[in-house]
Amino acid sequence: MSTAVIAVENLCFQYQAVEVLTDISIEINAGDYVGLVGPNGSGKTTLVRAILGVVRSATGKVALFGRALEQFQDWHKVGYLPQKLGGFNPNFPATVREVVSLGLIARKSFPRRPDRNDQRAVDRALERLDIANIGQKLIGELSGGQQQRVLIARAIVSDPELIILDEPTAALDPETREHFFSILQDLNRDSRVTMILVTHDIGTIGRYANKLLYIDRKIIFYGGFDEFCRSENMTAMFGGGAQHIICHRHTL
């Protein structure tokens, strides 16, 4: 029996006495491509952050690759793109290459100095995102879309087995967005990389993901698209139009 890449059991999270996540239990397996959707304030980002240990869950259990989060050490298996593009200081004097190489820190042993192999991995990630030509530019000098591409390159540079992206396409133009989704699709299909994509773009997620996790502080729906498209509960929840868009795109 294969071990789940992510196993969450009875996860609850409170922020200042407000219940943000209630009794979340999910398993995500190798090769899954999960679209994580829900309305604003539904706890999508909090769930992702709890899974990664960025926020400590009040109760419940999280395991990554079969190991309890508290004991998990193989962070190089995880690629992460946080939600906020403005999460970093735009005046930070870091080059694109320096930022992307931060994605390799998890696989390095102390004192985590990058070597030639790391430089080659950075080259590959930059080429994959079509940003090799701006490797020496400062991150603060780039447009929002270019910065987002750099951060996506940072998320995939270590060839992770699990990639979690929190609203990755917010700052991207349509052409770059398509290119970005095709990269993710290649990684998922060819390398069986497990994906979790947090997004409001339900049309796009219907096109690429094979599972849908819909939450609103608790799980409303988790399963395959076929089940979702047949569900009358989901029709009531989403409205027939939105459900139709997701299901239509999924069958394309």
């Binding site: 240990g53 992460y80 200081n89 870091a94």
Partner: protein
């Protein structure tokens, strides 16, 4: 050059350059983490700790290092646990330091010349012991920055990502503020409590005008810090100015030069 034959100038240059190097490298991290004023806050605590040392007849440096280190952790914990912004936490701890220092100085019979020498610094009066302490602690802090460079870089750039990379960000943050505490105490002898934050901030903001990478910023900040101390000491001797203030003015000169250069380059580019 004839100045160099005097022992007190040699001691001032050696201790000053080490502390200047240390302040500039650490200052860059603090400025980028938007903790620029932690130096100012901890300097106020240093004032209180110097007063403790004087009241109890203990060499102030020995009291200041542990007290200021504890205070730096206090600032961090206030930010995390009391859910207040870093600048407010710095304000709380620094006002405690100043108020405590004033009360202690008053109980001990009022301010005296010694306390004022700590307030405004007197690097030309630095002793052999203080030179050795400055070198040893500077090297120790620099070694820690070198060893944890990648972690510090990651946490400074994007803390959430760093945490998701398995970096113990809490430990790195604690280390940074503890290093800031040691640095502030060491810098007290160079420029005095009142001007410590300038030694941390000015080389960093100078570097940010010119740097084309993070590593590059560290080098520029370090050069600015060391040059400011060296040139500032010579300027103070030649022009008969207070050394601490001369060092800070040199730092300011480098910053304004870098800023002007950047503006001119942008204009004609």
């Amino acid at each position: 050059m004839e100045y160099l034959q005097y022992g007190f100038i040699q001691r001032a240059l050696i201790a000053g350059c080490f502390v200047g190097l240390l302040c500039s490298c650490l200052g860059l991290m603090l400025v980028l983490r938007r903790l620029s004023l932690i130096g100012d806050g901890l300097a106020h605590v240093t004032f209180g700790s110097v007063a403790i040392g004087m009241v109890f007849g203990i060499y102030p440096l020995y009291v200041s290092i542990p007290v200021v280190m504890l205070s730096s952790l206090g600032i961090l914990k206030l930010t995390e646990k009391a859910r207040i912004y870093g600048d407010a936490a710095i304000g709380v701890v620094s006002s405690l330091g100043i108020a405590g220092g004033v009360i202690l100085a008053s109980v001990a019979g009022g301010f005296n010349v010694d306390l004022f020498s700590y307030l405004f610094g007197n690097i030309l009066a630095v002793s052999d012991t203080e030179v050795v302490i400055s070198i040893v602690l500077s090297l120790l802090v620099m070694l820690l920055i070198y060893l944890y460079y990648q972690e510090i870089f990651s946490v400074t750039f994007d803390e959430e990502f760093a945490r998701a990379s398995g970096i113990k960000t809490g430990n790195i943050n604690s280390m940074l503020v503890l290093l800031a505490a040691v640095t502030v105490v060491l810098a007290m002898n160079v420029v005095g409590i009142m001007l410590v934050s300038a030694l941390l901030i000015l080389p960093a903001v100078t570097a940010l005008q010119l740097a084309r990478s993070f590593r590059n910023a560290m080098v520029i900040a370090a050069l600015t810090g060391v040059c400011s101390v060296a040139v500032g000491i010579f300027a103070s001797l030649m022009l008969n100015l207070p050394a601490g203030a001369a060092i800070v003015m040199m730092n300011l000169f480098f910053f304004l030069t870098a800023l002007t250069g950047k503006i001119l380059i942008a204009k004609f580019d």
